[in-house]
C-alpha cells in the first residue's frame, strides 16, 4: 500500500482569478496553472505542456480545454489529456472553494 499525503493549500481569494484566463501558482516547488472557466468552475493543471514545456497558464481557454501558446496543442483541463492528433498527459489537481477562498489539494 502506498501512503499518500494530501495537503490543502490556500492560494488566495477567488476574485483574484480572472475569468477564462489562467493564473500561475507556485506551491511546494510545483508550478500549477489555475483556470476560472466561464461556467465558474475552477480547474488546476500542471503548468507545462508535455510537448515542449509551453506555459499553459497563458493559453487560450475554450470550454473545458486550453490551447498551448507555444504550438497550439489542445489539452483537456478536466483530465489533463492532450487531444488528438497529439498525445500525452499533464497532472491535474483538485480545487475547492470555501467562502471567498480558493484551495488546491496537492500530493506531498
Amino acid at each position: 500500500m502506498v501512503n499518500k499525503n494530501i495537503i490543502k493549500v490556500c492560494v488566495g481569494s477567488i476574485h483574484d482569478f480572472p475569468v477564462s484566463l489562467g493564473k500561475t501558482v507556485k506551491v511546494n516547488g510545483k508550478e500549477i496553472a489555475v483556470f476560472k472557466l466561464s461556467s465558474g468552475k475552477i480547474r488546476a493543471i500542471e503548468n507545462r505542456c508535455p510537448h515542449k514545456g509551453g506555459v499553459l497558464s497563458e493559453g487560450i481557454v475554450s470550454g473545458d480545454s486550453v490551447f498551448c501558446p507555444m504550438h497550439d496543442w489542445k489539452i483537456c483541463l478536466h483530465d489533463g489529456n492532450v487531444q488528438e492528433p497529439d498525445s500525452g498527459c499533464v497532472d491535474t489537481y483538485e480545487a475547492s472553494v470555501e467562502g471567498d477562498l480558493l484551495y488546491l489539494l496537492i500530493e506531498e
Binding site: 480572472p18 477564462s20 489555475v34 506555459v55 497563458e58 481557454v61 475554450s62 507555444m70
Partner: protein
C-alpha cells in the same frame, strides 16, 4: 521482367521535364540514370535573373529537389560530365571513369553561352549569364566593384543589367543593333523600352561593336571599333547561346546548328533522342522554355512506345522579367508585303500595342506598357485565329471582361496555360474536377501551373471560374474560418455587420458555432473582425487574444518574455539608451539584441517584472508582438547620405507615429528608403517606400519571410501628403478585406494588384477608407501605460501566486 535502362545526359529543365513526362506515361518501364555537370539538382534557369535582381533565392527556383529523384528511384550523378557515347555498345562514359550502359539515351545537353571571340575575353571579371555560378560571380563582383558593362541588349542582357542595377552598380548596356531586343520587338517598342530603362538608371551604347576587352589580369574597360572607350570592372556577355553539340558530334550523330531530330525527337541513330536547346527541329533551335515541354511530351510518348503524338514546332512568346516594365511579344511581329499591322500608341501613358495579321489571321503581337492581354493574344496567335468577322481594333481593346472568359472557353484541353511548366488546360480542369482544387493556390500545388514566373495566374483563375461555373463564387470563397463553423470569413463579417453583433460569444451563439467557446483559431479572428467593423464601440476581449497580444510582450520558449520599446523610425537618443541600459542592469535582463526592424529587443524578462520594466523604461510599446504595425525601418536619407534624395527618417517617423497600435489581420512592416539603393530593404516589406528624384515609389505586398516575395509597384507619388493618403487607404482596404492571419503578400496575390489599384484610383473611395482608418486609429492608447496604471490588470495578468 528486367527494366530497360534509360540514361539522360543533362540535368536541366528540358531533360528532367522529359523524364517527368516519361514517368507520367509509365513509372515502371525504366531504370533511370541522370548525369548533370552542375552540382545542383534541377533548377529553373529562367528565374536566375530574379535571383540576381534579389527577388528570390536559389532554393526557391529549384524545380526538383533531391527527394524527387529519390522518390522516383532515379540515380542522379551531379558534378559529373559525360565525355563519350558508344552507340554500338550502347554505353556512355564520364569524366570520372564511370561507364553506364543504356537501352534508350536522351541528350539534353542544352546550350553554352556564346562568348565573343575578341581579345581579352578570358580576363578576370568577364562572365556569361547562364548558371548559378555566373550569378554568384556577379553578386560577388557587385560588392567590390562599381562599373558594369553588359554586352548584349537582348532579353538576357537586360535582365542581367537590371539585376546589376539592383546591386548598386553603375550599368552600361552595349548593343550592336540600333534598338533593344530587336528579335522580339519592333523599333517603336524597342525605343520605349530604352526610355523606361534609362529612367531606371541604365545607360545604353547602341550600334557599338566591342573590339577588345582591356586590362591587366582583371578587366578595366572596353574599347570599341569606333575608337571610343568605356571603363568597366565587370563585363557580362549576353550575346546569345550556341547549342552544346560537341558530344553528339563525336558520337557521330547528324548535327547542323543543333542535333537534328524528327517530330518524335529521335536522332538519326536509333535509341538516341535529343530535347531542348541542343536539338534542332525542322531547322529551328529554340532558346526559350515553352517548347521544351511540348518536345518532352512527344519524346516521352515515343520512348515509352505509347501512341505517338508528333511535335510540330512552337510559336514563341517572350515576356521581359524586369520590374516596372511590361513587355510582351509573340509570333511573327514584323510587317512586310503580306503582313499588315494594327497599332495603338498612347504616347502619354507609354502604352504601345501592335497586332500583325496575315490576311485575316493573327500571326504576331507586340505589347509595351500594358501586357495584360498577352495571354489572350498568344492563344489567338497559336491558333492563327481567323478574325474576319471581328472589328479588328477591338481585338486589342476588348470591351468589358468578356474577352478573357471566352478565351478560356474556346481553348482545347491540350492548350498550354502555364508555359513555364507546360501545364495544359485539361490538366487544370482535371485537378479541379477530380481532385477538388478550388483555388489558384491549390491548383498550383497540385499541377505546378503558375509555380514559376506566375504570369499565367489570371488565366488559371479564369479556368477555375469557367470550370466551376455557377459554383465558382461559393466554392472559391467558401473557406470556413475554422473547424467550429462552416461559415467563411466574408459571411461572418457580413453577419456581424447585418446583425450588429458585438461579442465573440454572441457571434458564435447566433451563427451556430458547433463549439460553444470556439477555438484558438476563430476566437482571435472574431475578436479582430468585431474590432475592425466597429472600432470605437467594440470592447476588446483579452481572453480571445494570443498570449503575446494579451501580455504586450513576446513569450519565449522558457516562459520569459521579450520587450521592444517603440523607437520611431529606428531613431534613438542618449537619454533613451541610458534608460534602457539602467533597466537592463536593474532587472538583470540577460540579452539585448538589435532586431531586423532596427529596434532593441530585451530578452528574458520575467513575467512578474514586465509592468515595472515598462514603467521604468517610460517608452511606448513597440508592438513587436502584435498583428499590428510593427516597425518602420528607415535609411539615413538626405540628412547624411551622399545618395539620399528624400527625408526617409522624417517620413518613417511620421508613418510610425500615425499608424502605431493599429490592429491588422497580420503583422505589418514598413520601410522607407531615400533612394533606389533601398538600404532599408523597402522591396520586401508589406509597404515599402523608395525615394526618387521628386517623389516616392510605393511598393506593396513584399515579404522577406518564408515565402520571399518582392513588392509590386503600387503608385508613384510626388508629395508626402499623397504618400500618407495612399498608405492609409491601402492599409484600411487590407484591414477590411483580408482573412485574419493573411499577410499582405498573400492577400495581394488573392485580390490582384490591378484590382487594388482600381479601388484606390477612386478619390472618393480613398477618402472614405482614410476616414475609417482615422476612426480605428482614434482608439489607440499605449497598452504598457494602461497596464502600469491599472492595479487590477497588473494583478490578474502578471502576478504569480507563490505559497510557501
Amino acid at each position: 521482367m528486367q527494366k530497360k535502362k534509360l540514361v539522360l545526359i543533362g540535368n536541366g529543365m528540358a531533360g528532367v521535364r522529359a523524364i517527368e513526362e516519361v514517368l507520367k506515361v509509365s513509372n515502371e518501364a525504366f531504370e533511370i540514370t541522370i548525369f548533370g555537370s552542375e552540382p545542383h539538382p534541377n533548377y529553373n534557369r529562367i528565374l536566375l535573373s530574379k535571383v540576381l535582381q534579389g527577388d528570390t533565392n536559389v532554393e526557391d527556383i529549384t524545380l526538383n529537389d533531391w527527394n524527387w529523384y529519390q522518390e522516383n528511384n532515379i540515380t542522379l550523378y551531379t558534378g559529373e560530365t559525360v565525355t563519350s557515347i558508344d552507340s554500338v555498345k550502347k554505353e556512355v562514359a564520364t569524366n570520372s571513369g564511370r561507364v553506364e550502359p543504356y537501352d534508350e539515351l536522351i541528350l539534353a545537353t542544352g546550350s553554352l553561352p556564346f562568348i565573343l571571340p575578341i581579345p581579352g575575353s578570358d580576363k578576370k571579371g568577364v562572365t556569361a549569364f547562364r548558371d548559378i555560378k555566373d550569378t554568384d560571380e556577379m553578386l560577388q563582383a557587385s560588392q567590390q566593384y562599381k562599373k558594369a558593362a553588359v554586352i548584349g541588349g537582348g532579353l538576357l542582357g537586360l535582365e542581367a543589367a537590371r539585376g546589376l542595377l539592383n546591386l548598386g552598380m553603375d550599368v552600361s548596356v552595349i548593343h550592336l543593333a540600333p534598338y533593344l531586343m530587336e528579335r522580339q520587338l519592333d523599333p517603336t517598342a524597342g525605343k520605349l523600352l530604352q526610355n523606361e530603362l534609362e529612367k531606371q538608371g541604365m545607360k545604353f551604347l547602341l550600334e557599338k561593336q566591342t573590339a577588345e576587352i582591356v586590362g591587366d589580369e582583371r578587366v578595366e574597360g572596353l574599347s570599341f571599333k569606333d575608337g571610343t572607350f568605356l571603363e568597366a570592372d565587370l563585363v557580362v556577355m549576353a550575346v546569345g547561346i550556341k547549342p552544346n553539340v560537341q558530344l553528339a558530334k563525336e558520337a557521330g550523330l547528324n548535327v547542323n546548328r543543333g542535333i537534328v531530330v524528327n517530330d518524335y525527337m529521335q536522332t538519326d541513330i536509333s535509341n538516341i533522342y535529343a530535347v531542348g536547346e541542343c536539338a534542332e527541329h525542322r531547322g529551328m533551335v529554340y532558346g526559350l522554355v515553352a517548347p521544351l515541354y511540348e518536345q518532352g511530351k512527344a519524346l516521352a510518348k515515343a520512348i515509352c512506345g505509347a501512341e505517338k503524338v508528333p511535335y510540330e514546332g512552337s510559336v514563341l512568346s517572350t515576356q521581359l522579367k524586369v520590374s516596372g516594365v511590361e513587355v510582351f511579344s509573340a509570333g511573327d511581329f514584323t510587317e512586310d508585303e503580306e503582313k499588315k499591322a494594327i497599332k495603338v500608341f498612347d504616347e502619354q501613358d507609354g502604352i504601345y500595342k501592335k497586332l500583325v495579321l496575315r490576311g485575316n489571321q493573327i500571326v504576331g503581337a507586340v505589347l509595351f506598357g500594358d501586357s495584360s492581354d498577352g495571354n489572350r493574344l498568344f492563344s489567338m496567335i497559336q491558333k492563327q485565329e481567323d478574325v474576319s468577322d471581328v472589328a479588328k481594333v477591338s481585338i486589342l481593346q476588348p470591351s468589358g471582361g468578356n474577352a478573357g472568359e471566352s478565351l478560356v472557353a474556346s481553348m482545347s484541353a491540350d492548350d498550354i496555360i502555364c508555359g513555364c511548366n507546360g501545364v495544359t488546360k485539361g490538366t487544370i480542369v482535371e485537378a479541379i474536377q477530380k481532385q477538388g482544387c478550388s483555388s489558384v493556390d491549390e491548383i498550383k500545388a497540385c499541377t505546378s501551373a503558375s509555380r514559376s514566373c506566375g504570369g499565367c495566374k489570371p488565366l488559371v483563375a479564369e479556368v477555375l471560374q469557367h470550370t466551376l461555373g455557377a459554383d465558382f463564387d461559393a466554392v472559391a470563397q467558401k473557406e470556413a474560418i475554422c473547424g467550429c463553423t462552416t461559415l467563411s470569413r466574408d459571411e461572418v463579417v457580413e453577419e456581424i455587420k447585418a446583425k450588429g453583433l458585438s461579442h465573440t460569444r454572441e457571434v458564435m451563439n447566433v451563427l451556430g458555432w458547433n463549439n460553444e467557446e470556439g477555438c484558438s483559431k476563430c476566437r482571435p479572428a472574431l475578436n479582430y473582425y468585431l474590432g475592425m467593423v466597429n472600432p470605437t464601440g467594440y470592447v476588446d476581449e483579452r481572453e480571445s487574444r494570443f498570449v503575446n497580444e494579451r501580455m504586450h510582450a513576446n513569450i519565449q520558449k522558457d516562459g520569459t518574455y521579450s520587450v521592444v520599446p517603440r523607437m520611431y523610425g529606428g531613431v534613438t537618443n542618449a537619454e533613451d539608451l541610458r534608460r534602457i541600459a539602467d533597466v537592463v542592469d536593474k532587472y538583470e535582463i540577460p540579452l539585448v539584441k538589435v532586431t531586423g526592424g532596427q529596434r532593441l529587443d530585451l530578452f528574458g524578462v520575467k513575467k512578474e517584472d514586465l509592468p515595472s520594466v515598462w514603467e521604468e523604461l517610460d517608452m511606448p510599446s513597440g508592438y513587436a508582438y502584435g498583428k499590428s504595425l510593427r516597425t518602420v525601418k528607415t535609411c539615413v536619407g538626405e540628412q547624411f547620405c551622399r545618395f539620399g534624395t528624400q527625408d526617409s527618417m522624417g517620413v518613417g517617423i511620421a508613418l510610425e507615429k500615425k499608424f502605431e497600435g493599429l490592429w491588422t489581420p497580420h503583422k505589418v512592416k514598413m520601410a522607407v528608403s531615400a533612394c533606389p539603393r533601398s538600404c532599408a530593404e523597402s522591396g520586401i516589406k508589406d509597404i515599402g517606400f523608395i525615394g526618387i528624384d521628386g517623389g516616392w515609389e510605393i511598393y506593396v505586398g513584399g515579404n522577406g519571410g518564408t515565402h520571399l516575395r518582392g513588392g509590386d509597384l503600387l503608385y508613384k507619388v510626388k508629395t508626402d501628403e499623397e504618400l500618407m493618403d495612399i498608405t492609409g487607404a491601402y492599409l484600411q482596404y487590407y484591414r477590411e478585406t483580408a482573412n485574419y492571419l493573411e499577410r499582405t503578400s498573400a492577400w495581394i496575390e488573392r485580390m490582384g494588384l490591378s484590382h487594388i489599384q482600381s479601388v484606390l484610383d477612386e478619390a472618393e473611395t480613398r477618402r472614405e477608407l482614410n476616414m475609417r482608418m482615422d476612426e480605428a486609429l482614434s482608439t489607440y492608447r499605449d497598452p504598457w501605460k494602461e497596464i502600469v496604471e491599472s492595479k487590477k490588470t497588473k494583478k490578474e495578468l502578471f502576478e504569480t501566486v507563490v505559497t510557501s
